[in-house]
Symmetry: C2
Subunit: 190 residues, 2 copies
Amino acid sequence: MPHINVDENLPGIRALMAFSPDTATPMGELANLLLRTSDTLSMADRELIGTYVSYLNDCFYCQQSHGAIAVCYLDGDTELVEQVKKDYAGADISPKLKALLTIAGSVQKGGKFVTEEQVAAAKELGATDKDIHDTVLIAAAFCMFNRYVDGLASNTPTDLSSYPLRAQQIVERGYGNYIFSNKQPVAENS
Amino acid sequence: MPHINVDENLPGIRALMAFSPDTATPMGELANLLLRTSDTLSMADRELIGTYVSYLNDCFYCQQSHGAIAVCYLDGDTELVEQVKKDYAGADISPKLKALLTIAGSVQKGGKFVTEEQVAAAKELGATDKDIHDTVLIAAAFCMFNRYVDGLASNTPTDLSSYPLRAQQIVERGYGNYIFSNKQPVAENS
């Protein structure tokens, strides 16, 4: 049960964003800027970084939500997303993304765990300064989102079939205020 | 030395925000909404929560910056801010704020460390749902800001006299885009 009185029909962060729409707006904008941009890091890469950090933070809601979004971008490859979470070094992803996931894993522990060697290794494999910046900020932002969701004990749907439906909406529409204004029941809408 | 090529004349998060002004905008807005609001939690309370979490995350830049802002709101009481960081239970602050700092300390470890008992204790001492929401989100947001600053190895002024000057600007003007658009040398402006 959530620690504060939020709408029980909304799952995870959406109930918190409905409780506090003022703060939801910049959080949604930050998510769009970090996750809905496709340059030298694809949207799939960005969602994989967020999913991996959510996995390390043991945030069920975020790792399921963003894992399902990554699956959409990866043409349904659920296994790849699972492997990135559990053993990215052995996953079929680029060496550059592996180096960036190493940096993201360090950020999850704390900023000072990122080493010059990790950054040099990523640059050697083609990572730009912006790739490194975005990786660090995506990982840091998920350390916020994960703590927000679990720190307030948000409702977390345990029915895994609900996440892909919701993921498709994000893929089509991005992160925006609609995510907390749509108050259909969780089962139909999460 | 920072891990990426940022303006060396800007300290801490300001150099990162100048590197990435798009993401700086919602981050500044979130800081304003969480830290420049005064309701049942004062601006001093809010900065103390952020300073305490930055201390726990061992982020020198953020704990000095926000500690100096808290000092401004507390009429120059540097000792109180130091005591909140090191032993808030023994500090001359309200029992409600102590209970909220306990929650913030749990969020710093991870969202799931917040317990029903901690939340009940804070409510018993007068904390509203919004107080608890804001405490969790402030603590979570500082887990992002701290990791952003240290994860990219931002320049951190070690001259402690620079922080109060900068704090006064924030107290007068809030968190906004000007913090990264003003490119005077660190010594004059940080």
